[in-house]
């Protein structure tokens, strides 16, 4: 078994490990990272600082990662690192270090670099006691750092040695336009200026420039370029470049054939690559070589398009040419320039500042004949078809041909599908508009349509069903769709019909629309059995009811587990057992917990003022009232809620779709929270309201969400996409800005009045009960494929054999 050891845990290392895993590498993959955390998306660092966004990459199954582990030596002869850790293939992905110019005072408190999450946290800490900051370096990263300082509320200066900003991406004319944009944001730009000294005793107080000017600042961020981290390679006797960088060949091999280097530490053909796209390509080439392939890295397109400080900047191809065509609009702050060959027929490169719309198309034409007159090309959108071999996604090296082939082969209908099949658009995302365009060119409608059967969005379908009074899927698809539906549109229509009419989800034709969970009113688990969650409103339960759950679980041999929503989940039931289990539960006073539905799940609560020494309101009673009010409410996605009896927030209400926290004066209502894949704290919608106002506001919030959300869009994403955001939502549900509140109130009142327990109704209906069999021709026979072993005194499903290719 080949042991691959990766030193460094940045984006390149992560991509290498990921590529090896997805390509079925059979050896072991181990990553040693010096940072105290796993791999994260360094490209999006600024958003971590200003929005607190989580940048961590998902963990890669099967890969062993050691964080906080610094590698200090390589022993190529013994094939070990740090004297003990063995490898067969060693990959150096050590990245680069920010270059800090050797100026006096550069070690003072308040001086920082801009590369890691720790750097950013330190900058944030320094900014708390600062009013002004200076970024040394006006390149791409420098402007990003400046944006971060500005986001932290500092008066921000940029000091750049060159006569204009971003000298590697734009020319003097573009730099002038860029500078005006940056200054308009309140930043001060000092171009053509260096740093003589950082002033201060312990803490930075200012920065002295060569012209004896002093910039007052308490934070200094150095962003004056990067230096490849090649010290390990040097120590091991590997060949390095004169100005740094580990020398590699086209296969990413260093001078020792068992050692590869990728990313910002690698020197390929005399060039260090500091952009994410070439580093990703290197990782993929390395993965291919490790697996015996012959992929080669042959240099990379250094085209860039980015949005810095709200200004779009793009550069592609060469930055000079025999002829050039310039478009300048100083009022709008737009500068575009194309470089062409001396006969004006071939596009050599270009620069855009202020409007980079032509970039995506034009970049593909570098080196080929101009598709239109240069002056026309500078205006957008350019209506030209891309050539087939045009690079669409340079981060992942995907051409237009790759995308069109994938669309045909896999019947792709949306950008998400293209991303999954080709990886295009998954790194920097700047080519997503192009992917849409290619989908359209391939005859795919990329509108807001739900699927091939409906060109409408969920919200549009909701309106159609409501306004036209449609009650069946057949009527809806006959009049407004095509075909007979699929696993995407059918559950959506089922949910809309249930939200609007609140009938039994298994009544008549509706039964055929339901996902298996709704169809069997239970949750499908990996071996084909189902789990059962009786409703336990507010998490309050009597000893008698607890005993019933215990007895049912024991008698049917079910695995029991406490859920995160203060309920009990019973696993391992076969379909034919579900009615008998539920008969016992219903007889004991339980009802469906809708754990299987896109519906209200639970309203969790802390113990509240009844028992708790700190509670200021009765959170349990409110939680029970809310859970009983909204139980059975079908919605675009599941809904979770919680009530905390005081500001200590033991019920974790701010991670819920709607969460309530007690105050001395009443209740605070928070909306749009989420745990899950993308955690989000809920936003405060109303403050210190009484219970009737609280309930009315939640009624309207929920109904408005149900009307307007997309398919499977949780309240968190819905709120983030809502035009006007939280303020607009407040205007709609509190001030009735749309004049729909009476409607929303009536709809919720109808829901509350017509709610009936789905399981009790099912048990009362012999027709519905007949579906609960494993085999239609042998109703009493259990499914022989379902088998269990035992773990910790409970059942556990046997692992099933998977036979797809």
């Amino acid at each position: 078994m080949t042991r691959v050891l990766i030193v460094g845990n940045g984006p390149s290392a992560h991509r290498l490990a990921e590529t090896l895993t997805t390509r079925g590498f059979t050896g072991s993959v181990t990553i040693l990272g010096e940072e105290p955390r796993g791999a994260y998306d360094r490209v999006a660092l600024t958003t971590h600082l200003t929005e607190g966004r989580d940048l961590m990459y998902p963990e890669i199954p099967g890969v062993t990662t050691f964080v906080d582990t610094k590698v200090v030596s390589i022993e190529p002869a013994a094939k070990t690192v740090n004297g003990t850790i063995p490898y067969d293939v060693l990959v150096l992905a050590t990245g680069s270090a920010p270059f800090v110019p050797p100026v006096p005072g550069r070690d003072l408190d308040g001086c920082h670099v801009y590369r890691t999450i720790d750097d950013l946290d330190a900058i944030r800490a320094s900014a708390k006691t600062a009013t002004a900051g200076v970024v040394v370096g006006g390149g791409l990263l420098g402007l990003e750092a400046a944006d971060a300082l500005r986001g932290l509320g500092l008066q921000t200066h940029i000091v750049e040695m060159s006569p204009w900003l971003m000298p590697r991406q734009v020319d003097e004319g573009g730099g002038a336009v860029l500078k005006r944009h940056v200054e308009a944001l309140g930043l001060t730009v000092h171009t053509g200026s260096g740093v003589t000294r950082i002033e201060g005793d312990d803490r930075v107080t200012g920065l002295l420039t060569p012209d004896k000017g002093v910039i007052d600042a308490q934070v200094v961020v150095f962003s004056a370029g990067i230096r490849p981290r090649d010290e390990l390679a040097r120590g091991a006797g590997l060949q390095v470049g004169e100005r740094g960088g580990i020398v590699v060949d086209d296969g990413m091999r260093t001078s020792d054939p068992s050692i590869l280097a990728i990313g910002e530490c690698a020197l390929h053909n005399g060039q260090i690559y500091g952009l994410v796209a070439p580093c990703m390509t290197m990782a993929e080439v390395a993965a291919d070589r490790i697996m015996g392939g012959s992929a080669a890295f042959t240099g990379a397109d250094l085209s860039t398009k980015l949005k810095l400080l709200g200004v779009e900047v793009a550069q592609f191809g060469a930055m000079a040419g025999a002829l050039d065509v310039t478009y300048l609009d100083p009022v709008a702050g737009v500068y575009k320039k194309l470089f062409v060959s001396d006969d004006a027929s071939t596009l050599l490169g270009g620069i855009c500042v202020g409007d980079a719309a032509p970039y995506a198309t034009l970049r593909s034409f570098v080196g080929s004949e101009l598709p239109a007159a240069p002056s026309d090309l500078l205006f957008s959108p350019v209506a030209v078809e891309l050539p087939g071999d045009a690079p669409v996604c340079s981060c992942n090296n995907v051409t237009k041909n790759d995308v069109t082939a994938a669309i045909k082969e896999h019947n792709l209908t949306d950008v998400a599908g293209v991303k999954a099949c080709t990886r295009a658009g998954t790194t920097c995302g700047s080519c997503v508009p192009l992917l849409k365009k290619i989908l359209t060119e391939s005859g795919v409608d990329t509108g807001t349509g739900l699927c091939e059967h409906f060109t409408h969005s969920r919200a549009e379908l909701f309106t159609i069903v409501q306004v036209r009074g449609i009650t069946t899927f057949t009527q809806l698809i006959d009049e407004h769709g095509t075909g007979r539906g699929c696993d995407i549109c059918k559950p959506v229509v089922a949910s809309i019909l249930a939200s609007l009419h609140n009938g039994h989800v298994l009544e008549g034709e509706q039964a055929a629309l339901q996902d298996t969970n709704d169809h069997f009113l239970a949750n499908l688990q990996k071996n084909g059995t189902y789990s059962i969650v009786p409703r336990i409103p507010g998490g309050e339960i009597t000893p008698e009811k607890l005993i019933v759950i215990g007895e049912v679980a024991r008698d049917f041999g079910l695995y029991t587990k406490i859920t995160g929503g203060q309920r009990i989940d019973l696993f391992g039931a076969r379909v034919e057992e579900l009615p008998r289990i539920w008969q016992r539960l219903v007889d004991a006073g339980f009802e469906s917990g809708h754990a299987y539905g896109k519906a209200l799940r639970t309203v969790k609560s802390c113990v509240g003022s009844t028992w708790c020494r700190y509670g200021v309101q009765d959170s349990v009673t409110l939680a029970i009232d809310l859970e009983l009010r909204y139980r059975g409410l079908r919605s675009p996605h599941k809904l979770k809620s919680a009530v905390s009896g005081c500001a200590r927030e033991c019920a974790e209400a701010r991670s819920k779709d709607f969460g309530i926290i007690a105050t001395e004066k009443g209740w605070n209502l928070y909306v749009g929270g989420n745990g899950g894949f993308t955690p989000r704290h809920a936003d405060l919608l109303v403050q210190d309201v009484d219970t009737p106002t609280l309930i009315r506001t939640i009624d309207r919030f929920l109904m408005f969400y149900i009307r307007t959300a997309d398919r499977l869009q949780r309240t968190s994403a819905w709120l983030e996409n809502l035009e006007g955001g939280l303020d607009r939502l407040r205007e709609i549900v509190m001030d009735d800005a749309l004049g729909i509140c009476a409607d929303l109130d009536a709809q919720m009142a109808a829901h509350v009045a017509t709610y009936a327990d789905e399981w009790r109704a099912t048990l009362d209906d012999p027709v519905k009960l007949r579906r609960f069999v494993s085999f239609v021709n042998a109703p009493g026979t259990p499914d022989p494929s379902i088998t269990f072993t035992t773990e910790r005194d409970q059942i556990k499903p046997e692992i099933l054999q998977v036979t797809s290719r």
Binding site: H410, N411, E452, H453, T474, G483, R484, G485, C486, D487, C489, K490, P491, E509, A511, A512, L513, Q514, D515, T516, N517, H519, F520, L524, K526, N527, G528, R770, R771, S774, F775, V776, N777, A778, T781, D783, P784, S785, L800, Q801, V802, T803, S804, R805
Partner: protein
């Protein structure tokens, strides 16, 4: 040229046609074989293997029935791969194919042949 007699199909009664809900599957156990049977909106009947090759679970009869470009389909309830009801080919991964079986109605009874 030699001629061989056509092998005799063995038909197994599964359930009355009226028991099959349009666009909803049911599973039959025939000689140890699990067969998912479906009735589509236009009244056509289809029989495929009940086993989902992607999860190994016997659950395809519980998937959502629909169409893709006019072809009748069922989506696995586990991870939503879509299979053609006519050919058994997984339309999301054409290299994966599940068995299909002949199906007919005789005197109101749905019958399937597994051999």
């Amino acid at each position: 040229m030699t001629t061989m007699p056509l092998p005799q199909r063995v038909w197994e009664a599964v359930c009355p046609l009226s028991d099959l809900l349009p666009e909803r599957g049911a599973c039959a156990l025939i000689g140890g074989e699990q067969v998912a049977v479906f009735r589509t909106h236009d009244g056509s009947l289809y029989a495929i293997g009940n086993r989902d090759p992607f999860s190994g679970a016997y659950i395809l009869s519980r998937g959502i029935v629909g169409t893709r470009n006019g072809e009748p389909t069922v989506a696995s309830p586990m991870h939503k791969q879509v299979f053609s009801l006519t050919s058994g080919v997984c339309l999301d991964d054409p290299g994966t194919v599940i068995p299909t079986f002949p199906i007919r109605v005789t005197m109101g009874m749905v019958e399937v042949s597994v051999k």
